[in-house]
Structures are given as C-alpha cells and as structure tokens.
C-alpha cells in the first residue's frame, strides 16, 4: 500500500475529475459489438444475467398459462398428452434451472462487489464464461422444445421413465445436458462470490460487518458447491446409461432406480435453499432500509442462515417418503425437516421485531416483503404438514404439493425478488420505477397468486393428481379449476404490468440520485448507475451500516494504480489490507471457450466420441484464455 513507485500512476496523485477520467479509460467497456462480447464488467454481465433470467421467467409463465387453459375445463382438447408432458417438464426445469437459481446469482454478480466495496468481482473472465454457458443451456432447452424434442420426463427426470427403456429419442438427454450447462455456470458464479466475499471486502469490513445479503449469498454459494456435484454425477450417469449402456439405474444388472432419487434430491432439496437464502438476504436488506433501523438480531440472522445451509443438506429423503425406505430413516428425515422450520421462524420473528421497533415506510419494495411474509408462512406451515410421513403419503403427487411448493418458491423467492428489483432498479439503471404502477403490480400479483394457488390445496385434498393433462367431468374438480385458471389471468396481468413498468422506467423513468432510499450499505455510496470502476477510491468501513454513521462523508483508502485494473485484497476475518491485486481485462476468449464447450456438450448427446474430439477446441480456447498477452494486468 505504501510502497512508492514512480513508474506506476496511483490514485493518490490525482484530483477527482482527472481520477474519474483515467479510471474510466482503464475500466470502461469499449463500445461496439466486440466490446459487448468481450466485456468482463460484472455490472454489465450481471444486468445481462438478470434480463435473460427474467425473459425465461416470462416464457415459463406463458407455459403455465397454456396449462391453465387446458385444465380450465374437464376433457379439454387444446393440448394433447405428449405436448402437455413437455410443457410441465419444461415449465419446472425452466423455472428452477434457468430462472430461480440464475436470477439470484445474477443479483449477486451485480451487487456483491458493490456491497463489499470492491472494483470488480473475483475471476471476471470466469464470470463472462458462466453467462455464455447459461445462455447456451437455456437456448438448448427452448430450441429443443420448439422442435418438439423438449424433455417430457418431469423436472426431476426420474428413472426408469427417463432411462433408455422408456424414453426413446433425445428428449431426456437434452434435459440431462441442459443440467450440465446450468450447473457449470452456477458453480462458476459460486466460486467467484466466495472469493469476492472472503478476499475483496473493503478495509474494515470484518465478518460481523458484512451486509446480510452478502452473508446469504456466501452461504448459498457454499450450498451450490456442495450440492451441485451430485446432480452432475447423476445426470452424467443417466447420459452414460442412455448412450453407452452402463447400468447405474438398471436393476436387472445390479443398478438401482432409487440411486437416482437419492442423488437428485441430495441436490434438489438444497436447491430450494439455494433459491430461498438469497431471498432472505434481500428481505433483510429491504426491511432494514424501509424501517430506518438495522435488522434486529444480526448475529442470530447470520447463525440462522448458516444453520439453514447445514440442515438443507440433511433433508433430501423427505421427497422420497413414499418410495418405501426404512422406518428409522423416515423418522430421522421427518425430524430434520421439521427442525429447519426453527431457523426460518427465527428469521421471521427478527424481521417482525425490526418492523415493530422501526418506522416502516410502505413503498413498493416493502410491500413485496409483507407479501412474502404472509405467503411464505402459509407455505412453511403446509411444509411442516408434509414433513409428516402419514400426511405426505396421502397428498403425495397431488395438487396439495403443487400448492405447497408454489407458496414456498413464489412466496419465498419471487416476491422478495420483485421487491429487490424495485429496490435496486435505480442502482442498475439510474432511473426509478413507478411507485403507482408498483402498487398495482403488487396488488394484482398478491391477489392473483393467492386466488390461483390457494384453491390448489383443496383440489389436492380432493384427490386431484399432478401432471395429468385432463380429467373427467364426474370428478369434483371442475369448478375450482375454472376459478384457478381465471385467477391465473389476474396474476399474469400483474406480471405484464411489471414488465411494462420495468421497460418504461428503464427508458424514461425519473432520474435516480445515488441513494434514493436513504439506505446504509456501500452500493449506495457510488453513483446510479455506478461508473465502470465502481468506486473512485476504496471505501473504509467502520460499522455494519457505513452510510448511516456519517451520511456526508465516507473514509476511503488510497494507493491503487489507475493505469491498469487493480483492486485491494484484504484478510478473511478482519478485512485488513494485504496486497494490491490486478484484475483481468476484457477478453473474447471466455466466449470462444463457452462456444467450444457448448459444441462438445451438445455433440456428446449423439456420440461419446464428441468428448474426445471436442476437448481439443476446448483446450485451445482455455490456453488462449490463460496465455499472457503482455498487458500490465498479466504481468504485475
């Protein structure tokens, strides 16, 4: 930090305007297509990620409207059984793998570096690569669907239904390979987040001063790292069974179908928390800002996040209660499934205490938080119900479960996400979203959601199974189904209004100041939208709420180079400055690497030799990526 070197230009030597000019020259993404394809700016990539994920949300929503159209009346003829199977499989796969997980990670890609006060994300080129992989995986799924080759085996692709015997053609392979794409990108982002949080925090941001959203993303990233390899092993084994006749899931040759369920749910249950924990962080952030006080019980909140993360890895069997497992195992997993309600409940009470003690301001983001609490508590209660084996046996594979997980996932993740988009939109775009439209959006989505999904509990108790493309008029289900389909229109109108508001505000919304909500975390200490280099000088943090201590002045650290991309590395626990570290510049190689990997993965659906021949271009692209180009970032 203090070492003087005449040949390197440092920020200490410059005035504010000159500093801005030089830092922009170093960090800005060049204009034009080439610049756009080779950028590694975490804010540009984060915005792309969020936009792409929201497009997939809209597409997945359209599929659900098609399903509601088909189910509105008994014996409807709009969609045949084969198409219906593809639609519900792609709806689930799309919402889980292409929307929910990526959108949460995308918010982190944009926000975490700003919230910890650094200039860029760790491994910025890996970040670019992860976006291209994600996009390719999404396109693979949707293009396959357009070609009538969409997966039709459910979002969890249970064997033997998805195995070589019962799933002819390439539909199940497309599902399995799409998993590989999204897992590669999710794992990459998880690694970036962990390193950014551990090593790039602003000086003084010790572990007990990390914003709760950043904590939640840290725990989530560890969950991704520990849980996602299971699904990669599972989907690889499935592809091998289908392509080169291995026998992992073939009982006739010593394989086992339940092995698939174990591997899938060892990933699949943590997946729920991979989606839910970031939402928890968003809620904490919004609650703190709109009640004008720090969240009650910071330490308890962090412990709740960590214990949820640990417990999440020990509940997977509750998805398999009807698979005939040993009684003791079922009891253990019932207990652990109920135990996870404790940290969740603790957090709810901490938020309530915060609101109780604060002065709540009911702006749109806060409305979504209230909606989240109501809906998520209902979803949590039905969750405790299905944790009990006898009850689960009754409602398994009925609409009761459909209602339960939509309450948990939409209530627990989409509501906080919409609140978070209203909250951080000014930072992303430099413009405010409409408060009037925002209230309409909230009202329509809240009412539409409850009217659509609450009756599904009753349908389930009346015995309507999931994943059926039609039903007979004698069944006592038609009235509720019509009600649900009509309510789905209200929900859809709410989302449509949200998209209109976002597009319109992005173009012509009121200009946003740097800190429109009077929030206290570091992302609001820079302009809206932030400059390419995030902060002109690295902030120094002295408390959990750096902007509240002294709103007009923020202490900063200086000494970073301005003529090349450089950021400050700090220690894990205390965030004491350790070194100056170069940050990689723009590069087209991540795109080439992603294209080579994409070609290999898709080709390998058809022949195992693709892995051999495809690895050559992948290796070339990776060598090109890492070979030093003689820039100062490469050599210092």
């Amino acid at each position: 930090m203090t070492r003087e070197d005449d040949s390197e230009l440092r920020d200490t030597a410059l005035e504010a305007t000159e500093l801005d000019r030089r830092l922009t020259a170093t960090w800005a993404t060049p204009p034009g297509l080439w610049g756009a394809l080779s950028t590694v700016d975490h804010k540009i990539i984060g915005r792309r990620y969020i936009t792409t994920a929201v497009v997939f949300l809209a597409l997945g929503g359209l599929l659900s409207l098609l399903m509601r159209l088909q189910l509105a009346q008994p014996e409807a003829r709009f969609i045949g059984p084969d198409r219906y199977n593809q639609i519900f499989s792609i709806h689930g796969t799309n919402m889980m793998f292409l929307f929910a997980v990526p959108v949460m990670q995308a918010m982190a890609v944009y926000l975490v570096p700003l919230m910890v006060g650094t200039r860029s994300i760790a491994f910025p080129r890996l970040n670019a690569f992860s976006y291209w992989m994600y996009l390719a995986g999404g396109l693979l799924l949707w293009i396959a669907f357009m070609l009538d080759a969409g997966p039709d085996v459910g979002w969890f692709a249970y064997v033997p239904l998805s195995g070589p015997e019962y799933a002819a053609g390439k539909r199940a392979d497309i599902w399995a390979q799409m998993i590989t794409f999204t897992e590669v990108s999710a794992l990459a982002v998880a690694v970036e987040i962990v390193v950014t949080v551990f090593k790039q925090r602003a000086p003084g941001m010790s572990l007990d001063r990390i914003p709760l959203f950043v904590w939640s993303m840290l725990v989530t990233s560890f969950l991704v790292i520990l849980a996602m390899p299971a699904i990669m092993i599972a989907s690889t084994a499935l592809i091998l069974d289908r392509l080169v006749e291995t026998h992992f899931f073939n009982p006739a040759e010593g394989g086992d179908v339940l092995l698939w369920q174990h591997l899938f749910w060892f990933f699949g249950h943590p997946e729920v928390y991979i989606i839910f924990l970031p939402a928890v962080g968003m809620v904490s952030t919004i609650v703190a800002t709109f009640t004008r006080r720090p969240v009650f019980g910071y330490l308890g909140m962090v412990m709740a996040l960590i214990s949820t993360g640990v417990l999440a890895l020990g509940l997977w069997v509750h998805h398999m209660f009807v698979a005939g497992l040993p009684r003791l195992g079922e009891s253990f997993f019932t207990a652990s499934s109920m135990a996870i309600a404790i940290p969740a409940g603790l957090q709810i009470f901490c938020w309530l205490a915060t609101i109780w003690a604060g002065r709540p301001i009911f702006k749109t983001p806060f409305l979504f938080v209230i909606g989240f609490m109501v809906i998520f508590v209902i979803g949590g209660l039905t969750g405790v119900m299905v944790a009990s084996v006898p009850f689960d046996t009754q409602v398994h594979d009925t609409y009761f479960v459909v209602a339960h997980f939509h309450y948990v996932l939409v209530g627990g993740a989409v509501f906080p996400l919409l609140g978070a988009i209203y909250y951080w939109f000014p930072k992303f775009t430099g413009r405010m979203m409409s408060e009037t439209l925002g209230r309409w959006v909230f009202g329509l989505i809240f009412a539409g959601f409850n009217l659509t999904f609450f009756p599904m509990h009753i349908l389930g108790l009346r015995g309507m199974p999931r994943r059926i493309y039609t039903y007979q008029p004698e069944m006592p289900w038609s009235g509720l189904n019509m009600l649900i389909s009509l309510s789905a229109i209200i929900l859809a109108v709410g989302f449509l209004l949200f998209f209109i508001d976002a597009i319109r505000s992005g173009r012509s919304g009121a200009p946003a100041p740097s800190n429109p909500w009077g929030a206290s975390t570091l992302e609001w200490a820079t302009s809206s939208p932030p400059p390419p280099y995030n902060f002109a000088r690295t902030p120094v943090v002295g408390s959990l709420e750096p902007l509240s201590d002294n709103p007009d002045m923020l202490p900063v650290a200086a000494g970073l180079r301005v003529d090349c991309r450089e950021l400050l590395v700090t220690s894990v626990v205390e965030a004491i400055p350790e070194a100056r570290e170069p940050s990689s510049g723009d590069s087209i190689w991540p795109l080439w690497a992603a294209l080579a990997t994409t070609a290999t993965l898709i080709w390998s659906i058809f022949t195992p030799w693709a892995v051999v021949w495809g690895s050559i271009p992948v290796a070339i692209a990776l060598i090109g990526w890492f070979w030093p180009k003689g820039t100062s970032e490469d050599d210092s």
Partner: protein, 170 residues
C-alpha cells in the same frame, strides 16, 4: 477443488451404495489385479517429492530450477497415464456388463480426466516458463497453484485406490 472433492466422494458413495445392494461383490467378476493399480499408486505418491520441490522453487522464483521441475513433472504426468491404460483391463469387467463395471469405469475415468487436465496445464506452463513471459511473479504463482493441484490429484486417488482394489477383497 472442493467441487471436485465432492464429486470424487460422491462417486465412492455410489460405489458403496451399489455394493450394499448387491448379493455378491464384485458383481460377476474377479477382484481387480493389483499390479497396475498399485504401481500407479506408488508412482503418484513418489511424484509428490519432486512436486513439493517444484512448489518451493516457484515460491523462491528460481526460474532455472522451476523449468527443470516442470519438465520432470510433465514426464511424471505422462507415466501414470501409461499405467492407467493397464488398469482398465485389470478390472476384469467392462462398463456395459453390469453396475459394478459401470461405477468402476466411471471412477477410473473421472480420475484419469484429472491427471490429463493437470498434465495439459503442466505442459502449457512448461512452454510458458521457457517463453519471454516466464520470469514473472504471477507465472511463479501459477506454477505453485499447479503443483498444489497435483497434490490434490494424488491425494484423492488414495481413497479411490483403496475402494477400487481393496474393498472387493474384504
């Protein structure tokens, strides 16, 4: 490495899970021959010695010694691949015969991929250290990272070796 470590651990779990279901293990096959696998294990463990020296030279930024070390480690990356080629037939089963064959081949394949990846990285670094980009702090950092990765490849093999060769003999 945490990601891959989880992957290796899961492959062992799958192996043990399939074994727990099987009436006899290995399924319709003799236990694997020990020669190829054991010599490979010995070779991998022995390769840790030059590898640790290489890591130390990279820390001291000794270009000449690092170059020599990288050439040695490149050779020590190729040699296990030759032995590995004899390990697959030593299993006495093919991947498409039964679930035992499937998991054995996948475990060997998974580990082979890691030897191969590290070998390619070592070869690229060797070229790099002989180029004008070599004498640089960041390159030495890359070399010690690569040495660390080789340690990981060797250490993860030990439980897999025990599982593949000795568990069927229990």
């Amino acid at each position: 490495m945490l990601i891959e470590g989880t992957g290796f651990a899961l492959s062992i779990v799958v192996y043990l899970y399939l074994m727990s279901l099987a009436p006899s293990w290995p399924l319709n096959a003799a236990p694997p021959d020990l020669l190829a696998g054991t010599s490979l294990t010995a070779l991998l463990v022995a390769s840790l010695v030059p590898n640790l020296f290489l890591a130390r030279w990279a820390r001291n930024q000794n270009l000449l010694k690092v170059r020599v070390g990288l050439i040695v480690m490149s050779l020590l990356g190729i040699a296990p691949l030759i032995l590995r080629a004899f390990e697959f037939p030593a299993m006495h089963i093919k991947w498409d015969q039964n679930a035992y064959g499937s998991i054995v081949w996948v475990m060997l394949g998974l580990h082979t991929t890691h030897i191969l990846t590290d070998l390619i990285e070592t070869l690229v670094l060797t070229c790099l250290m002989f180029s004008r980009h070599g004498d640089n702090g960041r390159r030495f950092g890359d070399v010690s990272d690569n040495a660390m990765y080789w340690n990981f490849v060797v250490v993860t093999w030990l439980p897999m070796y025990a599982c593949l060769y000795w568990v069927p003999r229990l």
